[in-house]
């Protein structure tokens, strides 16, 4: 079966074809999930971001210019959404644990599964947990997606030098924390 190009699917969606929308979701859901997951560092939060990104895609498609790259656009939304989520969560640290997690517990994953999964957290995930949001984003974008520094600077609305410095700090901290774990 021949794969339709993004802009062809976008045209079809704008003409009311729901199936084409689903096709785009299928095409990008994993890339978006992993981009988000490596920044927010949790499955539940990554899932939230994924849903938000596709909702925004749905609402924004009519403004989408055929000559620009759909994934680049989705990627930017994903990173910014992930950062926004982390920023919001920083404030929620003040709220008693039970109150905050009350509604979170009703997600598809059971509390038991969650405990099991956290036990299997990788040392990278444990290290990322300790980084400030922007360093997480820069590290993940560079390390896992090989995003050019210029593009990252654009996404994060900061200078290329600042982006590089953030990346340097992140690598430094992560390698330091992993070293500590290894040597005990």
């Amino acid at each position: 079966m021949e794969q339709k190009l993004d802009h062809e699917l976008v045209d079809e969606i704008l003409r009311g074809n729901n199936q084409s929308f689903n096709q785009l979701v299928k095409r990008y859901q994993e890339r978006i999930y992993w981009t988000a997951r490596r920044i927010v560092n949790s499955h539940e939060d990554a899932d939230d971001v994924v849903q938000n990104v596709f909702l925004k895609m749905y609402e924004g498609l009519k403004y989408f210019r055929g000559d620009s790259n759909l994934f680049t656009w989705l990627y930017r939304i994903t990173v910014n959404d992930s950062l926004n989520l982390l920023r919001k969560k920083r404030f929620l640290q003040f709220i008693p644990y039970e109150e905050y997690f009350e509604d979170k517990m009703q997600t598809s994953e059971s509390a038991h599964d969650k405990v099991i999964r956290q036990e299997y957290q990788t040392s990278l995930e444990r290290a990322i947990e300790k980084l400030p949001p922007k360093q997480r984003a820069v590290f993940s974008m560079r390390y896992f997606n090989e995003t050019p520094f210029e593009e990252m600077a654009k996404i994060l609305k900061k200078s290329v030098g600042g982006t590089k410095a953030n990346y340097f700090q992140a690598v430094k901290k992560i390698s330091g924390m992993m070293r500590k774990e290894l040597t005990g």
């Binding site: 090989e146 200078s159 430094k172 500590k180």
Partner: protein, 201 residues
């Protein structure tokens, strides 16, 4: 090659993602520069460990659940905008409309975008505590606190490299924290309502 150019490329170098020319330059530099060599040992260990580790992955059940969930939310949103449309046009008198708006806000309509802030009762948090987390000082101290190790020498070497990286660009590293400036300002004004509004954006 400058040290700052080398250290920033080390992860890619150890992952075999650098060009042949760069790889040559980097290994040459590592042979002659002891501080970059020392740094490279840690980065290499990190790359090796990340390669070995396998992160928890969701199964096909999850991947198949995304489309229905997104479709649900599109439908919800459509219903809500229909609802909003009715409100706007059925109530002709502005006075009547304003009464309804007051009513609606007190109803606490479900809105997934607000879920993180809905629970946030800022009245229970002293503003002085909030600002602890968002002071400019914390941004600066992050800049200074480069190394996890307390060994003073390593830290100053880092600062030099970092300065060099930043110097390659016109802007200062501090600019990287300016995204939060809006919220910072609001916190300094102790404007709680505006803080929540900014977070909900």
């Amino acid at each position: 090659m400058k040290c700052s150019d080398v250290v920033i490329m080390l992860p890619e170098y150890f992952r075999g993602k650098t060009s042949e020319a760069s790889s040559g330059n980097i290994s040459e530099h590592l042979n002659t520069c002891s501080s970059c060599k020392a740094e490279s040992i840690h980065v290499q260990a990190m790359v090796d460990l990340i390669r070995k580790e396998k992160a928890w992955e969701p199964d096909s059940f999850y991947w198949n659940s995304i489309i229905p969930k997104v479709q649900d939310r599109i439908e919800q949103r459509r219903n809500r905008s229909r609802f909003e449309w009715i409100i706007r046009f059925i109530m002709p008198a502005a006075a009547a409309a304003s009464v309804l708006i007051i009513l609606l806000t007190s109803l606490n309509m479900p809105n997934s975008d607000n879920r993180y802030t809905d629970n946030l009762n800022l009245n229970s948090i002293p503003v002085s505590e909030l600002s602890e987390y968002y002071t400019v000082q914390s941004a600066f101290s992050e800049f200074n606190q480069l190394s996890l190790d307390s060994s003073g020498n390593e830290e100053s070497a880092d600062t030099e490299i970092l300065k060099e990286i930043v110097a390659q660009d016109d802007n200062n590293i501090v600019s990287s924290y300016f995204d939060d400036k809006e919220i910072l300002d609001l916190i300094s004004q102790e404007n709680e309502t505006a803080i929540v509004a900014a977070l909900q954006k």
